[in-house]
Symmetry: C2
Subunit: 463 residues, 2 copies
């Protein structure tokens, strides 16, 4: 057994305990009520990096939440790996659907995780995966096997669009200088079929408000004579997609990168079972854009989803009211080479254009993110591939993910660096959902794999 | 000055104070959290009837909230007027739009009410209008001018569909025996143009739930591949009306009573100013069924309004989620001779039929109510017309209202009695809305007019 594996074996219980401490802090960046908890989490991350052997640990202030920086330079002549992760989490609601408290981590066995999984908000996204890198550093440090230099950049605003990361990166290009960026904030196909994410969707997120009468009205006295903002909003949203689930916003598909048949065939080879997929979600049928497979709809095609809608009376019983307004949160996932700013503008222009004269419409852009595609032939990808081979005994397959990590495009632009998306989560981990969890197998496997990446990357760079 | 008018003048401040006490109790029948307050209000109404001179005051239990009964039989050979009203109120939300507390009544002057108006939930609908009858009884009693027998039936479930009133009425036909029913729970055109409501719309109210995946999903990993319950719900609701705002539910218009051109011409004569109407609601335009005027859309045509909608993330910031479900409360106003039970069935059948295979749909009927048309040539209507002539110095015009008082149809069926809808509210009173209010002028005018009705009704019946 290698010294690294031995060290991991001897300390695995403690590694879980330390992660639990991090998971207990509700670092919800979307809700300002949790500001102190987010800040507390930054401190905890910094402290854990110090303990793991990092040097120059700093909590770097930004106009928003701070970014935790740390590094360990073993030899300036060696290549440098910049690790990115985030310490903030999604809001936990709906709370009533959690089996156990979102911020009181527990271990439960599941069908997919017979060795047990850690249930807590952020267990997988991204505290659990980020913390693997902290523990991997400890392993390499304690076993004297750190094969190249390492830098950490852990932010606290990923779940709200990394609004100040660009500000920070552009001001610290020298500090962040590296040869590759390594990120574990994605998933793999299954515990017995490792994969590396080579593509991500971008994001455009807007909030819309439709206002009708200047006050709530009695639906008997005014019903039929005054436009109902909820009815109008449902009409407007419905009109944004046609019967083939094609998005009707003029110019929306203009820049969409169409995949070649060869690429689509390659995608179709990835293991996927539609019946299991439907069964896992308790769906009698899937639904999506005509002419594309479920895998394609979820990765290489843009989307338009209403993430939230509200207006009028939502309480017990029946209230006969025409509300003064109705609101919705709408997000569009983007694919290469759609540009979030442009899509948001197209949406806003179109949404305002289709509004009937009987209402007022407001469109408020939230955050956006660029889509991304990574190469599969550079030292970074090859090192990740070999590292997973070492730990899984299998060559990982490259896959496109439907999720968004807006900042990988930003890193490329600001730092001229490619990001390697070596994630260890599973789609079934329920990130952004109640009962989010992360397999102990995956957590340990990550801590085992990361040092292999460092070893192979150093070697490949010195070739 | 008549003895009645004199008594009113001498006691008007107290009459307002006593109403304030009733308005301070939050008798919200739709929300079970206010159960004790609703019951407390029943007691207060009973006590006020006793003080006003009523006999046989009873709080009659029902499977739901109790009904307050009282009577004063001056002479069995005289005709009897049965007064109906309700002591429950609508929920006050949205609370943040109230200028003063909904259950702390205050008097403020407004453009339409230069003498001042009482601001409070229930000020007009219906505590204020119901209490006019209690005070009118006191006036007639104290001045020895009660011209015929009177019975009171004040319920506590009107705002939730009077679910147990039918149960009560069918069991107490003898107790409730009368010659006419008098109700003040409607409005008039303006303080200088009195009117009497001769028609009401019916109501069918349903709650719908669209369920997609068995849990909230990450909109990046699943977006585009799984039907989003909110998108589906907006599509389904939008499809319930065509571009001409015609309702698309098969059979919906089957029983709709079409008015003759003559009737429509008569309606068009009622004073109405579209610009003022739009200005009062801050609307750049009205919207409704093609081929009908605003007045017609709001009274003689059926409607379909979403009274509330909710699903997904409604908090601060952005959450990229595909929710597991979305819900809406939908009400349809009905016109003679549409039948609520039948319409609810048609809705449910259609809504389930148009649901895509990718979701599950539940339709839960709330309450319903039959539409109603009252005659204008019987003693009841003529007595009301003469009574308003006496107090306003103007003959009131008959108008159709868009609102619903489901129980007037029930009274006709169970008691064989017509209801006279002599209301003193105004459309601008904001009933069911924040800042509901009721003009002092209207409150006093009602107390002045009701005894005239008794006098004229007794006379007309003895002709």
């Amino acid at each position: 057994m290698s010294s690294q594996k031995e060290y991991l074996e001897q300390n695995k219980e403690r590694f879980v305990e330390e992660l639990f401490e991090l998971l207990r802090i509700p670092s919800i960046s979307a809700d300002s009520a949790y500001k102190n908890d987010v800040l507390k989490t930054a401190d905890a991350v910094a402290e854990s990096l110090r303990k793991a052997g990092a040097e120059n640990v700093e909590i770097c202030e930004t106009p928003g939440y701070p970014i935790v920086y740390a590094d360990k330079i073993v030899d300036p002549s060696l290549p440098t790996v910049l690790v990115y992760g985030h310490y903030d989490v999604q809001p936990p609601d709906p709370l009533d659907l959690w089996t156990t408290e979102p911020f009181e981590p527990v271990i439960r066995k599941t069908e997919i995780h017979p060795d047990g999984a850690i249930f807590a908000r952020g267990a997988c996204d991204d505290k659990g995966q980020m913390f693997m890198h902290v523990k991997a550093l400890e392993v390499m440090n304690q076993t004297g096997t750190l094969a190249c230099n390492v830098k950490f950049m852990i932010e606290g605003e990923e779940e709200v669009g990394s609004e100040n990361l660009g500000w920070f990166v552009s001001r610290n290009q020298e500090k962040l200088a590296a040869d590759v960026i390594l990120i574990s904030d994605t998933g793999m196909i299954a515990n017995d079929s490792p994969s590396i994410t080579t593509g991500l969707r971008g994001l455009s997120y807007v909030e819309v408000k439709v206002t009708g009468p200047n006050r709530d009205l009695h639906s008997g006295l005014y019903g039929g004579a005054v436009a109902n903002p909820i009815n109008v909003l449902t009409n407007m949203i419905a009109s944004l997609q046609d019967d083939n689930k094609h998005i009707t916003i003029p110019g929306f598909y203009e820049d969409v990168q169409e995949l070649s048949d060869a690429e689509r065939e390659a995608m179709a080879k990835a293991p996927f079972n539609l019946d299991n997929y439907k069964k896992a979600l308790d769906l009698s049928d899937v639904d999506g854009e005509l002419g594309y497979s479920t895998m394609e709809r979820a990765s290489i095609r843009p989307t338009l989803d209403v993430n939230g809608i509200w207006g009028g009376y939502q309480g017990e019983g029946a209230k006969t009211v025409i509300p003064s307004w109705a609101k919705a949160k709408i997000s569009m996932r983007l694919v290469p080479h759609q540009e979030p700013g442009k899509i948001t503008e197209l949406f806003q222009k179109h949404f305002e254009a289709i509004a009937p004269k009987s209402v007022k419409v407001e469109v408020t852009p939230h955050h956006g993110g660029l889509p991304y595609v990574s190469p599969t032939d550079d030292p970074g990808y090859r090192a990740a591939s070999k590292a997973m081979e070492d730990s899984f005994g299998k060559t990982p397959v490259p896959v496109r993910s439907g999720g968004s990590i807006p900042i990988v495009a930003l890193f490329e632009k600001e730092l001229g660096l490619k990001s390697i998306l070596m994630g260890f989560g599973l789609d079934s981990d329920a990130i952004h959902s109640p009962n989010e969890h992360y397999g102990l197998f995956n957590y340990y496997k990550g801590i085992e794999t990361i040092p292999h990446f460092f070893k192979h990357f150093a070697a490949l760079k010195s070739e």
